[in-house]
Symmetry: C2
Subunit: 335 residues, 2 copies
């Protein structure tokens, strides 16, 4: 079996900076045509200069690969229309983090309500800049995303012209919310299509599958998988591939994040093929995102075949999902 994906896109990616950027950027750039690059560096990316400089560093790290980093700003409620009009020349979207909710999000927003964010969200609506949100409350870990759904809904109602993307959704509740608001969209990761909390903490504790939002219940995974396999027009693939050095994952107080970028496309192909839905993969990994973001990526053809391949045990310092294991599909050519 074989499939050629046209310009696959990763609509939620962490490339980090410095040494880690050098390790992971070429891996994403090899198999994706473009990716939405998250701005949660230390310090976060909050100025046009910082966006430009980060983009330069990414392009340098990529080397020869044909790949477009789609840049984002770290949301702040003092971004005004004039600033954003200028920023729009450099960025594709703005990412909003509730303060302290995940890695390097300490500078995020403390109270998310339409009133206090009005100036910035009005400007984003007028300029057609999508708002990407890490949607979790600070409640009980299994309830955080569900508790955030009303916030998404309030924003969607109060800013009907704003494109709002529920990032890395993990629950049935979020899938259902998609259908209630025309301007709500979502990204779904690879790992949340595959795992539940059982895989993280049901047998031994598995730090390499620990992420935020944490993997949820079987019925949640089913809802996500169903949306992806049907290529629900409001969902896009976003890996949330989040590299940490091995020591930060395998020590006490393990950092949150699953590193999937280099294996994402073959594993997605295997997953869609196993459900006889391979024909929907193109929409999930590219076409839906092109429509939602209204952009056309550079051309890149990625051919995948059902030939087994071995996932490396480690990429430099970073342990990927399925490290050392065989997966059923491979990337056989990129052009």
């Amino acid at each position: 079996m074989q499939i050629t994906l046209n310009s696959p896109l990763d609509m939620h990616l962490h490339l980090r900076d410095e040494a880690m950027l050098q390790i992971v950027a070429p891996l994403s750039a090899h198999s994706f045509a473009a990716a939405i690059v998250m701005p949660n560096l230390v310090p976060p990316v909050t100025s046009i200069e910082a966006v430009k400089a980060y983009k330069e560093r990414i392009i340098t790290a990529i080397g020869e690969e044909h790949f477009t980093p789609l840049m984002t700003l770290f949301f702040q409620d003092n971004y005004d229309y004039d600033f954003l009009k200028e920023a729009k020349k450099q960025i594709t979207a703005i990412k909003l983090y509730p303060a302290g909710i995940t890695t390097n999000s300490e500078g995020g927003v403390s109270g998310i309500d339409s009133e206090s964010l009005k100036m910035t969200l009005d400007a984003m609506s007028r300029l057609d800049i999508p708002l990407l949100i890490h949607g979790e409350s600070n409640g009980f870990v299994m309830d955080r995303e569900k508790e955030f759904v009303p916030v998404y809904e309030e924003l969607a109602q109060n800013f009907p012209d704003l494109t709002i993307i529920m990032e890395h959704i993990t629950t049935k509740a979020s899938v259902e919310a998609l259908n209630r608001h025309k301007n709500l969209y979502a990204t779904i990761t690879l790992h949340h299509l595959l795992i539940t909390l059982d895989d993280v903490a049901g047998g031994m504790l598995e730090p390499h599958l620990f992420c935020k939002p944490i993997a949820k219940r079987p019925e949640d995974r089913e809802a996500l998988l169903d949306a992806a396999l049907q290529a629900h027009p409001k969902v896009m693939f976003g890996s949330d591939s989040a590299p940490h050095p091995q020591h930060a994952k395998e020590s006490c107080g393990c950092a949150a994040g699953v590193f999937t970028a280099p294996i994402a496309l073959p594993v997605l192909a295997e997953l869609f093929a196993s459900h006889n839905k391979l024909e929907n993969l193109q929409a999930f990994v590219s076409d839906n995102a092109q429509k939602i973001y209204n952009f056309t990526p550079e051309k890149k053809n990625v051919v995948l075949e059902d030939k087994p391949s071995l996932v490396p045990a480690i990429y430099d310092t970073v342990v990927p999902m399925y490290a050392g294991k065989e997966i059923g599909w491979s990337i056989t050519s990129v052009s």
Copy 2:
């Protein structure tokens, strides 16, 4: 503030064997008068000779401390009346593990139903040997205990003269089941009175708080805490203190178990005092168990005071709960 506990008991304890036994046995023996010792060694303790030999090794490891190890057999469905009549001279209870459900439980019972276990459970009923159960299904990790409640209830109904102890309960559903059957009892650990899944996986991943059954939701913890603080007459303290070497906890595929034996009494005193229920601690840590098991432990007075103490970072190779942290109470004398 001060309290003298008379013969505190740990009704669910893992002492392991060999080097680990030497480390942990004296720590329990110092502050408890007796403990129910779990039989999940490798191989499990399934013969009278193995019980005797293990008890000898425990007594040697304890040294000078006054402490009674209350021995258990690892449940097998071929134990008959004559065997158990003889075994009863050496054991206090029998522990049943569903196969593969936790550490060293591979030899446990595959199908738990009244019919297949009838011979052994009838004999235990006649001989008045309590049945201790690790009650989890093999379902989704957050549902395993709740899904097992009907099994407890079926056994309680079909063997009305059998004392059945729901070990280390973690859910509101189990607390509620206690009140529906006169012959159902429960142990509750220290850590399940204190933590929820949030503490294990809500911030960073915390391997030293990873255990089976896993810590559940806030409303579950509330139900357990309420039962303990009220000294519900059907609940007993059982630490489920489960030591693993540091490397087995802090590596990929972390083993399940929280090591609390040496800190259990001061932390319980602090917890009960903070809720103005110190007067109920004696019942929770000793009197209820004496009534349920119908036994009188040797006398041991443990005096606790609200003087802060520092928890060691490690006991030899084993990291305790609250490692390196200050707790509000101390053991000030044992006599």
